[in-house]
């Protein structure tokens, strides 16, 4: 797997400390090591043994979330949540970590960071952010952004995002990313100064390219189809899962009503009383066990959601390719027509309709000098065009090569992560069944003692 040639302006120079080996060594390490640090627990221990640009192990964690009020752009009061990002460097072998940086960021700043990365690293499948608003909720979960459970899950999602970026062999070296983690004030201005918004391809241009491109690389076309399928199937799955969760919640909670009634009934029964009372208690236990079960399932749903959003990132890379390819094709077409024009002028034949041809007919032939001048201009243009075409071609091929490398990396990551998520789902189900067996066995014992 190879790296895109780092843009010296955007990439960081190695830190003052001695690098482990030259830049080449770091690259190799990056190639081998990979995303061990991505899926960690919420404390966010991420040992980037080769991918770090500080050349020491670092840990990133989004450790807290806090409600804040402030004034927004139109000077109105608003409430938002801020997240505390802590970066620790782990000294040597004893694993002691020292807090190097800690600052607060809000969701919109994360968005800004990501948009920046999308513009400057179009060949990279940029990790997605957790959802802005709660979707695929089942009835018990609120769709309120201020809801503490939602905030908590978002905190985990944001941490995951940072870890993924930090462990990406290319993205981790980005200066703006580094500043995001280290420079609280002024960061927004710094990002905006890069002028990345201007560099972004317009949606319209991209759409146009998608329709008109003639010969995109087939792999990207397939990838686009794949990402559409992925998105559709995961959305469907999440929707049904939410409904199943809803129903399951109902089944468990209704059993809780038994508890109260059994207890009241036991008051009038002599022999059955004890059995009823304790059975009722177990029904209560059963009913309340669903809360934890479904909370775990939410984490599973979040893991799937990440890949739902990754589908969009994949499509972004495909779009970029299409755009470049279209650009290339247009440039080649332009060049071809200019060459033709030149030829026609030189030979005096008019094979195709042209304005020049028309005006010539109307206003008479031009003088040989004029013709010469025009041919000269055209030839210059042709030259330029050929140069441009060459470089565009090169760019295009570079892009395809790098993008495809990242896509391969992404595919492996996806397979690993999804498999792990699906297995964790099975583990959750097993735990749920075991709890169920225990509660009902206890209840049965109570019933049989009645």
């Amino acid at each position: 797997m190879e790296q895109a040639p780092p843009d010296p302006e955007r990439q960081l120079k190695p830190a003052p400390l001695e690098p482990l080996g030259g830049p080449g060594a770091v690259l190799e390490a990056a190639a081998g090591e990979e995303t061990e640090g991505t899926r960690e627990d919420s404390s966010g221990v991420d040992t980037m043994t080769g991918n770090d640009f500080w050349l020491k192990k670092i840990e990133i964690s989004v450790s807290e979330a806090e409600k804040r009020t402030g004034r927004n752009a139109v000077n109105m009061q608003e409430t938002y949540t801020a997240y505390l990002i802590e970066t620790r460097s782990v000294e040597h072998a004893d694993g002691q970590s020292v807090l190097t940086d800690s600052l607060w960021r809000r969701y919109s700043e994360f968005e800004l960071l990501r948009n920046y990365l999308l513009v400057y690293y179009p060949h990279v499948v940029v990790p997605p952010l957790p959802e802005k608003r709660a979707e695929f909720v089942w009835h018990k979960l609120s769709a309120d952004n201020m809801d503490p459970d939602f905030v908590e899950r978002r905190r985990i999602g944001l941490e995951n995002f940072l870890l993924r970026v930090a462990s990406h062999p290319v993205l981790c070296r980005d200066k703006i990313f580094y500043l995001f983690l280290t420079q609280e004030g002024n960061w927004k201005e710094t990002v905006n100064e890069t002028g990345f918004q201007l560099k972004a391809d317009s949606r319209l241009k991209a759409l146009n390219a998608t329709f008109r491109v003639k010969n995109p690389d087939k792999r990207f076309t397939e990838l686009k189809h794949y990402s559409d399928e992925l998105q559709s199937v995961i959305s469907h799955l999440l929707r049904v899962r939410a409904r199943v969760a809803d129903r399951l919640y109902g089944v468990y909670k209704v059993h809780g009503n038994y508890g109260r009634v059994f207890s009241e009934w036991s008051a009038i029964e002599k022999e059955m009383g004890d059995g009823l009372q304790s059975a009722g208690h177990h029904m209560d236990v059963y009913a309340s066990s669903i809360d934890d079960i479904l909370e775990d399932e939410e984490h599973y749903a979040d893991q799937l959601k990440e890949y739902l959003f990754y589908a969009e990132a994949l499509r972004a890379v495909c779009r970029k390719h299409e755009l470049m390819q279209y650009d290339l094709e247009t440039a080649a077409q332009d060049l071809a027509s200019k060459k033709q024009q030149c030829e026609e002028l030189a030979t005096g034949t008019v094979r195709t309709f042209s304005l020049k041809g028309m005006t010539t007919k109307l206003f008479g032939q031009e003088t040989p000098e004029q013709r010469e001048a025009r041919i000269k201009v055209l030839e210059e243009q042709i030259n330029e065009g050929e140069q441009q075409l060459k470089s565009k071609n090169l760019e295009g091929r570079e892009f395809v090569k790098n993008a495809w490398a990242d896509i391969e990396r992404f595919k492996e990551q996806k397979n690993r992560d999804l498999k792990e998520a699906l297995i964790s789902y099975a583990i959750m189900q097993i735990s749920m069944c075991k709890k169920g067996i225990q509660v009902w066995t206890n209840a049965k014992e109570c019933f049989s003692k009645m």
């Binding site: 199937v233 199943v244 129903r247 038994y258 009038i268 699906l422 097993i430 209840a443």
Partner: protein, 518 residues
């Protein structure tokens, strides 16, 4: 009069295993019980006293001595009682430790768990057809006291039945006026009083209603099993919906079998006719019975007396009443909760059906995850099936039982009312006596009869109450235990599925990893 008393009884029960066959003739005034081959039970019966009093006879007062119990694992004993004095009849009250009890006024057949000590109490009760709300139209009613033969069978298998009833094969009948369903009732029996050993008849719901009415009339303070409701108000208007018919069929089956198991009701004549008579016979039989006017008279009296309210309800019936009230509340709630659980499980099942196939769909676009995804899909589908099984289990084990007891609790309230009515009649006559000095003699006689009636009614209820409570505990206990068992099985099944999936997934990576390490 020999008062042999308890000691004599014990001795008789424990000691004598001499061969004495049946047919011991009682000396007047004492009742003896010959049990098995030998023992004589003797009990004091104060000689035929006035028609107003109840004579207590304690027969067969068994202690928990094992010897006594062994005796009762032997088979038959037969006893003949001296004819009761004019206007009296024998009433048996059998109670044993768990409180199962009942009364029977003509023949007596007992099935006793052999492990329980038993007391058989004979009472001499006054009989007056107009005061007793008994069904006096049974042709079996002995007009000659001498023909009363009391048989006591002790059987070592408590549930050795001699009457087997099934209700099945619902059929729809269409006439010009109406459409209705009949159910086939097959009865198999070894009892002598039935003309044959097997009967097959068709009955419709109305016939069941008639039977229930007759039983209630004959035994106002016995707990008659409940019938399934006429209509289910919510949801189903369609009376001929398959599920409704099946549920009703099962409930009717239960109804008849409960009657058959009831020590008193099982010998009811109307019950026998119901089981054996073909349709036309039954119609003409139904037309006999108290005329409409006399029934109306009874109803009016009943309503009037219930309006007056009961002043002196004995304590035990106060307790009973309050139990019934609370029980009724709770069982109704449990019925609602259980129905709701069924509904939620059904909804869950419906959603689950869609859940598995999505994973299969997904596996079509993921080459590397095919096995995992298909595995999960298959697990989900299996859990789905297990859920369906659980639902079915719930609807068979729990819902019908709980619902039956909802209906029972309504029945019980009716029984309490009827008991109260009987008492009110007595109370009002007593009151009348204190005010109207005239007709004192007539009133006193009536009061005497009413007192007997009240006593009988109370005893009947008490005994049946104990039996009912025992059944209720057993039935609900097994219903809930079965439900718990269903749930355990459900979770065990799901657990096995997921665990086997997990092992299949976590074994493989060992191979995959080694391939990837290049």
């Amino acid at each position: 009069m020999g008062a042999q008393g308890g000691a004599g009884l014990a001795a008789a029960a424990g000691g004598a295993r001499t061969a004495g066959m049946d047919g011991e003739r009682l000396a007047s005034g004492s009742s003896e019980l010959a049990v098995g081959e030998s023992p004589r039970g003797g009990a004091p019966i104060p000689g035929g006293s006035g028609s107003c009093s109840l004579m207590q006879a304690d027969v067969l007062d068994l202690d928990e001595d094992e010897d006594d119990l062994e005796v009762f694992s032997k088979l038959e004993t037969r006893r003949e009682l001296e004819a009761p004095p004019r206007n009296h009849y024998w009433s048996w009250v059998l109670t044993h430790k768990t409180g199962k009890g009942w009364t029977k006024d003509d023949t007596l057949s007992l099935c006793l768990p052999s492990t329980l000590p038993t007391i058989l109490r004979l009472s001499l009760c006054s009989k007056d057809a107009s005061l007793m709300d008994m069904n006096s139209f049974s042709p079996m009613m002995p007009t000659s006291p001498l023909s009363m033969i009391n048989q006591i069978k002790f059987e070592d298998e408590p549930d050795l039945k001699d009457l087997f009833i099934t209700v099945d094969a619902p059929e729809s009948h269409v006439t010009t006026i109406e459409t209705f369903i009949t159910y086939r009732i097959i009865t198999k029996t070894s009892r002598g009083e039935f003309d044959s050993s097997e009967f097959e008849v068709r009955r419709r719901y109305q016939d069941f209603l008639w039977l229930k009415g007759k039983l209630e009339d004959a035994h106002p303070t016995l707990i008659i099993p409940p019938l399934p409701e006429k209509f289910i108000v919510k949801g189903m208007v369609e009376r001929f919906n398959d599920d409704f018919i099946e549920t009703r069929r099962k409930a009717l089956h239960k109804f008849l079998n409960r009657i058959a198991d009831h020590p008193t009701l099982t010998f009811n004549e109307d019950f026998k006719v119901f089981l054996t008579a073909q349709a036309p016979e039954l119609s003409s039989y139904k037309k006999q019975g108290p005329g409409l006017l006399s029934r109306m008279g009874q109803t009016v009296r009943a309503v009037a007396s219930s309006m007056r309210g009961v002043k002196n309800r004995p304590d035990e019936f106060m307790e009973m009443n309050s139990f019934i009230e609370t029980f009724s509340q709770k069982i109704n709630l449990i019925d609602k909760i259980s129905q709701r659980i069924y509904k939620e499980e059904r909804d869950y099942f419906d959603e689950m059906k869609e859940y598995g196939p999505i994973h299969i769909l997904w596996s079509a676009s993921e080459e590397d995850l095919v096995d995992t995804l298909k595995g999960i899909a298959s697990c989900i589908d299996q859990c789905c099936k297990a859920t369906e099984k659980r639902m079915t289990g719930l609807s068979e084990a729990l819902l019908p039982v709980v619902h039956e007891y909802v209906l029972y609790s309504e029945m019980l309230m009716g029984v309490m009312k009827r008991r109260d009515q009987i008492q009110t009649e007595l109370d009002s006559k007593v009151e009348a006596l204190t005010y109207k000095k005239a007709d004192a003699d007539l009133l006193t006689e009536e009061i005497g009869k009413l007192e007997d009636k009240v006593e009988c009614a109370n005893n009947a209820l008490k005994a049946d109450w104990e039996r009912w409570k025992q059944n209720m505990q057993n039935d609900l206990k097994s219903a809930f235990t079965d439900t718990a068992e269903e749930n355990i099985r459900y979770y065990e099944q799901c657990l096995a599925t997921w665990e086997s999936f997990l092992t299949s997934q976590t074994d493989l990576p060992l191979e995959e990893d080694s391939e990837d390490k290049i």
